[in-house]
């Protein structure tokens, strides 16, 4: 195991005023693997992703992508690093001023300077990849259902064929069947691209489907990490409480204490 991890976080701290969100977070993701981070709402899962992407600046700690430190990277270095990433946002975050196909092609046109005609062809192809017909391409995002918006968001995330893809609660807000469809698409698309992925979710069905490895975030730290198969026998009472969705357990006691 001497290979450089694709992503490595160590000792990452991030606070908003008095709220200490990340408190010394350590995490490594091997190239080509799929890590799912589970944790309750508001525990800082999205904040963690945004720190890696440079959308938020951590207060301290190190974040490396392919061995390159991102927290101290210059503007142009950071731009290079960002080109490795695709991200599916929690609410899809589609640009509502643009039609669906321009959303999907956005990174190709603005980021890679592709001409519109070629970009549209690729966009339609990516839409097909996520199960959407070509006539969806000219609709506005506001005309789509939540599940279709997630698919378009997925198509946008994979359009530039990134090396690393982040999924922020890909199934939240979807019905169980649509959630499973999205999970399948994620697994297929990731396999196509051979990408490294980091997903965050509190949906255990989704985690079991898309993960190689699972980690649990609690009180700003990773308190457990293991392969998907070991999650039911982790012996960690926090993990047990979370995956079984029990109201009572160590997690509740912590809430009461504070």
């Amino acid at each position: 195991m001497t290979a450089t991890p694709k992503i490595a976080l160590s000792g990452v701290h991030k606070s908003f005023g008095p709220k200490h969100i990340l408190q010394g977070l350590d995490l490594t993701i091997a190239k080509g693997s799929s890590l799912v981070v589970i944790g309750g709402s508001g525990t800082g899962k999205s904040v963690m992703l945004k720190c890696i992407l440079g959308l938020l600046r951590p207060d301290s700690g190190s974040i490396k992508v392919d061995g390159q430190e991102v927290t101290t990277a210059s503007r142009s270095e950071r731009k290079k690093i960002l080109e490795k990433f695709g991200m599916l946002f929690q609410g899809a975050a589609l640009f509502d001023s643009l039609p669906v196909w321009e959303n999907v092609a956005f990174g190709l046109i603005q980021g890679k300077g592709l001409n519109k005609k070629d970009a549209k062809e690729i966009a339609v192809e990516k839409l097909r990849r996520v199960g959407l017909r070509p006539d969806v391409a000219n609709l506005s995002p506001a005309e789509l259902s939540g599940g279709m918006q997630k698919r378009v968001g997925l198509a946008r995330a994979i359009a530039a064929e990134p090396e690393i893809i982040f999924f922020d609660e890909p199934t939240t807000g979807l019905d169980p069947i649509m959630a499973d469809v999205i999970n399948d698409l994620i697994v297929e698309c990731v396999k196509d691209l051979g990408a490294t992925t980091l997903s965050i979710t509190h949906d255990m069905a989704s985690a079991r489907k898309i993960a190689d490895r699972v980690a649990m975030l609690y009180e700003g730290k990773i308190i457990w990490e293991g392969s998907k198969e070991t999650i039911d026998t982790s012996g960690n009472e926090y993990v047990d409480q979370f995956i079984h969705g029990r109201a009572h357990g160590p997690i509740e006691m912590q809430i009461l204490k504070s």
Partner: protein
């Protein structure tokens, strides 16, 4: 804790910090003017949104104000048998002050709020974060084009407002107050100086910058869901109003600063 001086002091420091943040936001946006790419298509679209859609409200404001002004000056002037000052005072008041200031305020009401609402929604729905992950600088793509469009468009709008304002005075002056039509236009023309027109357009450009800056800034930094966007919208309009009026005072004192 309840020392009034301490409260005043901390409010003062907080305002100072806010002013500093606005300035650095503006500097960042302006710095993108010299770093390609420049999104011309977005600039044109924004010019259309700001300019064309503001024409009715700006035009009507100017028309009614010019007309009311002529009526008031006529009544005031007639006490000294000086009804003939109407065209001269109207043109100076409109071009130097009322055209740019009222035009700027009306556009601020429309445009600062719309920009804050749009960018605020983009912020809270993570669309701005999405831009970054798609290798696009949100300042370059969102903020700089809005600032440029407003700086270009406001002078055009104010020029039109000035003309309509003068026409409003003309209509009341000639139709209702019985002033001689040919004479009215001649006096208007004689009173109007190049410097007045230039200062009017400079004010308009500055106000355009303020309108887009306040709308963009408050939208860009907003957070906290729909409520946060609502707050951003209000803050954008209120701050745009105050800063426009302050900037107007400063420009007026600089350009027309003589005491005689």
């Amino acid at each position: 804790m309840y020392n009034p001086l301490a409260i005043v002091g901390s409010v003062f420091l907080a305002s100072l910090a806010e002013v500093g943040r606005v300035f650095s936001f503006a500097a960042h946006a302006v710095s993108h003017l010299v770093r390609p790419p420049i999104y011309w298509r977005i600039i044109l679209k924004q010019m259309w949104l700001i300019g064309y859609n503001s024409l009715p409200v700006v035009g009507l404001t100017a028309l009614f104000t010019g007309a009311a002004l002529a009526q008031q000056i006529y009544v005031g002037g007639s006490r000294f048998n000086a009804e003939n000052v109407v065209p001269g005072v109207v043109v100076i008041a409109i071009v130097r002050e009322l055209g740019p200031v009222l035009g700027g305020l009306m556009v601020a009401g429309r445009v600062s709020s719309a920009m804050a609402a749009e960018l605020g929604t983009m912020r809270v729905t993570e669309q701005i974060d999405a831009l970054v992950t798609l290798s696009t600088d949100p300042f370059k793509y969102l903020i700089t084009p809005r600032l440029m469009a407003a700086v270009i468009t406001l002078p055009m709008l104010v020029l039109i407002a000035n003309i309509i304002g003068i026409m409003g005075g003309y209509v009341i002056g000639t139709e209702r107050l019985g002033l001689n039509a040919g004479n009215y236009l001649q006096v208007t023309y004689d009173y109007l100086e190049k410097a007045d027109v230039y200062s009017s357009l400079v004010k308009a450009a500055v106000f355009g910058f303020i309108i887009a800056l306040m709308g963009s800034y408050h939208g860009y930094i907003s957070r906290g869901g729909a409520q946060g966007v609502g707050k951003a919208t209000t803050n954008a309009v209120v701050s745009a109003f105050i800063v426009i009026l302050l900037a107007n005072l400063i420009i007026t004192v600089i350009v027309f600063g003589g005491k005689g």
